[in-house]
Symmetry: C3
Subunit: 254 residues, 3 copies
Amino acid sequence: MKIITLTTDFGTSEYTGAVKGVIQSINPEARIVDITHNIQPYNIMQAAYVLYSTLKYFPKGSIHVAVVDPGVGTERKALILETEDYYLVGPDNGIFSLFEYNHAWEIEFKEASPTFHGRDVFAPAAARLSLDMNPEELGREVKNIEKIDIFRIETEARKIKGEVLHIDVFGNIITNIKKEIFSRLGIKTGDRLRIKTLNKSFEVKFLSAYGYAEKGELILLVGSSGLIELSENLGRASEVLNISPGDILEIEAQ
Amino acid sequence: MKIITLTTDFGTSEYTGAVKGVIQSINPEARIVDITHNIQPYNIMQAAYVLYSTLKYFPKGSIHVAVVDPGVGTERKALILETEDYYLVGPDNGIFSLFEYNHAWEIEFKEASPTFHGRDVFAPAAARLSLDMNPEELGREVKNIEKIDIFRIETEARKIKGEVLHIDVFGNIITNIKKEIFSRLGIKTGDRLRIKTLNKSFEVKFLSAYGYAEKGELILLVGSSGLIELSENLGRASEVLNISPGDILEIEAQ
Amino acid sequence: MKIITLTTDFGTSEYTGAVKGVIQSINPEARIVDITHNIQPYNIMQAAYVLYSTLKYFPKGSIHVAVVDPGVGTERKALILETEDYYLVGPDNGIFSLFEYNHAWEIEFKEASPTFHGRDVFAPAAARLSLDMNPEELGREVKNIEKIDIFRIETEARKIKGEVLHIDVFGNIITNIKKEIFSRLGIKTGDRLRIKTLNKSFEVKFLSAYGYAEKGELILLVGSSGLIELSENLGRASEVLNISPGDILEIEAQ
């Protein structure tokens, strides 16, 4: 039984239902697993991050469909990528930037609603892959795909300038700064660090778990996907600080 | 393995969990697929539209449960309908208006919480159908069911007056005007049309995909279920225009 | 095929996706059923109520994972409980207060992100239980677990003082008052009762179903899990009355 995962910006709307219907009609045995449908509408960078932090937990051979697709119906390609462990299926708009792939194909299709390739192009392709159809039968190989640079940061001495990648469901602010940067700069648990956002500057402690902070205390920690995260214990840091994906954050060791 | 789909106004609440538990207890092999639980509370017309635009993508033999049920616990009937391809299970309040059916049964039940027939009446009936139980064993046949007229519009010369059926997750405004009406009136891609809402009047282009419009541009297009849709590229038309399901919309060709 | 259910405060976020990936990687045959991911962040009491009102509908042998875990990464234990019918897996913070159990084990683990035991501790434990691994192999038995008292109320003559346990998706206000209390005090369908909240006092009828009230009428009824519920027909009582979980409610028979 093959697993097909779904990551979209469809919310919990009926569009997800239609995608599932198409998949189950082509392969009634496919097991569909929702990763999330709560990507910010049209936010490709956030989707790229979520795929990066989540897909690795799925069994080898899974087929991952990602549909955040503001260019649906225009000339952007519809892709199948083959990585070491998975197939990835979705639009060619940078959403798969964080994956190495061995081969890429442009999906060929005849009829499709120009507003809903999730249902009419990506779901059928994924369902056919789950029936062990060869990607060669679904499209023609292409060499280059769109890429976005997500982990670009600036560092100097003990200062790091990074970007907010994602606000999670608890209001945690997930940056694009990998934990290795902190190790390299010698920052350790218990250290105090100065944070600068667009219009605020404040000090926080670098701790190892939310529960070690006071209620309402802002802290830095290593998030569950190995990226530095700015959090408020038992609160919503993103609201307190009024920060959104795309904002710049500066961290300075004392 | 039989598919049972769920369409409700339960949100992502625990009520959905209870319904699934009941189904799996009666038939552990049933595969449950969520269509959506985000129907506006009590909005039967929206539910009718969502079923109409989504169920056809599921394999033949699927069992579709729909629970938007403001009259739960009163005298309204609990129904099983048999269509050409499916069983439909839900309250007799117009929710299945857009389906032709061959037979209808009123579900008979003994004990049920008067506030939760989804769990106590509809889920068990669907689970039993998925075990190939005959509807005759679950209730007695009835002749007439409640109907709502959803696609009623007015046209004159090159003017169409329709109604807003649904705001989708992207803020697209889905009307009850079928694309065939546009063809019949000779409206073509690229044409400019005048729209009147309760307190606004403006011109938009009729395009074939969101991506062909400027960022923030209002456009008309044929939505993925074949109905005319008023959209804002990369934005939320419903918020910009302050439009809700039930509102009247007038479209005039130039 | 074993069922593993999930109840969390992860919303519809990617965290749920990662948990599912881990389970399916360990046991591809496990069937995962979402109960709800919409517990108020960190609200252990609400989670306890939702588990109590929902788990009983699942087949015997199901494995129930509950992750509402403000203390993640601190010294609170990670638990497996064995009840008559189920395994329960989650943090030792009172979330399982409403279940009798025969045995309890503290899950032992080596590596785990201190911010995400749902993925790194609870999901693997549940998946292994679903492969019929013995809890003895996953941890060491413990005697006592954390308990919260949820159904504590005060009664005198024909007056009851209870607490709001949960606001459901329709805005219904679910109290911690069991229907048996009403029977014992001789309160019957049709009776008028006086309700006092922090800053309001008003009369409502005790009815058997929402649909027997006028549109917008506030009523008391027995909710679907046998607790007294304060509701507005076709409206949201919690918003009209500005009531939240934890608020005190006084009910007086006339």
